[in-house]
Symmetry: C2
Subunit: 221 residues, 2 copies
């Protein structure tokens, strides 16, 4: 918070960038699938091309938004996994936090996990953040007592995972924990993404109840 040693110019620059991003968020939150630099500038009272001093092009803005969203999601999930609790409770908390986060700001969730925006430029930093997010799950599952007693295919996949543990970021975990964290994640995403995108709309049941059931099933399986 101490504005550590940056020149006033740099602080101003950072501030304007943040303001631009804030406007972009409100814009994407209110319907627009992708923010418009022009509209943002108009709202900020400055004229069009001024924004190009702060972001080289629209893709750079969007990439920044994606990374911010990703970081926020990771922080939220990490915060939800209070380290004192037993692993199963932690995982449930993470699951609840994930859905809450997604429902609170669906556009943010979709910006990360929806259709890759233009011709999808995979930001390299995103993988790092994703790993830190996975680490929360992996650690909880590693701590969990339940053995990896899945069906036969699980053993095959565990064997396949053997050499690919680099993407967890933290210390090596068993393949079983990796697999369980991964499938846990995909199951949560399956429900949440369909709900966010409105695919449960006409069906008339409570998505929250489905989610709770799915979380419980994923944790006892």
């Amino acid at each position: 918070m101490a504005d550590n040693g940056r020149s006033p110019r740099e602080r101003y620059r950072e501030q304007v960038r943040d303001e631009i991003k804030a406007h972009a968020w409100t814009q994407v939150a209110t319907g627009a699938s992708a923010p418009s630099l022009n509209a943002i500038a108009k709202r900020m009272g400055i004229s069009g091309p001024a924004l190009y001093r702060y972001f080289r092009n629209r893709d750079e803005l969007i990439t920044d938004l994606v990374l911010d969203a990703y970081r926020d999601l990771a922080a939220t999930c990490r915060a939800a996994a209070a380290p004192g609790e037993p692993p199963r409770a932690r995982l449930t908390e993470v699951a609840v936090a994930l859905r809450r986060w997604a429902l609170a700001t669906p556009h943010r969730y979709l910006l990360i996990f929806g259709t890759p925006v233009p011709g999808y430029s995979a930001p390299p930093e995103a993988t790092t953040i994703a790993s830190s997010l996975m680490a929360v799950l992996v650690e909880a599952f590693a701590e969990s007592a339940t053995p990896a007693r899945g069906p036969g295919g699980a053993a095959i996949f565990d064997a396949h995972l053997g050499g690919h543990q680099k993407w967890t970021g933290s210390r090596p975990a068993t393949a079983g924990s990796l697999r369980r964290a991964l499938t846990f994640w995909t199951r949560l995403h399956g429900v949440v993404s369909l709900e966010i995108a409105g695919h449960f709309a006409g069906m008339g049941f409570d998505p929250g109840l489905l989610y709770a059931t799915e979380v419980e099933a994923a944790l006892t399986a």
Copy 2:
């Protein structure tokens, strides 16, 4: 195939509409997140606003594409569920067909299940198609001998599902079958959508293997 009793004008119109949609598909397949009417017209050798004789606006085109994709997916899944086989084999076939379909044309999958395009106009017909797709799964699960021996939450959700069976389209099925079909679908979608969107890219494992494991787990759970 007999061009049943439609006037030549109507046949011509249909033909041009199909040609437009074909161009739109190739365009969306090659990077563009959403097709451009202008570019399509240019490719077809006609000039801009002529397309507005065939589609009222771009959203109508996209909606048409979505519905076509949805129909094709439903047909593919139905075809994959050969009625002679035992239910578990049928479900596996559907799962395989789904992933194959998604990987063959990711843009199509994302057009249906990705970020809802602009301000998302939910087409009412989509729900019908979705129901027909679900019906395939529901019937297979209904035929499956395995009882709904899920965790405690499953019973709660089954009870909740009691009155909401209208969305299956076909004859009434047990709440357990509905629940299992629904969660089966969400689990498949969870893996496929993340793979399609490239979220497994940096992780260096085989998504196909993960998918196979997940399908097997979903069927034995």
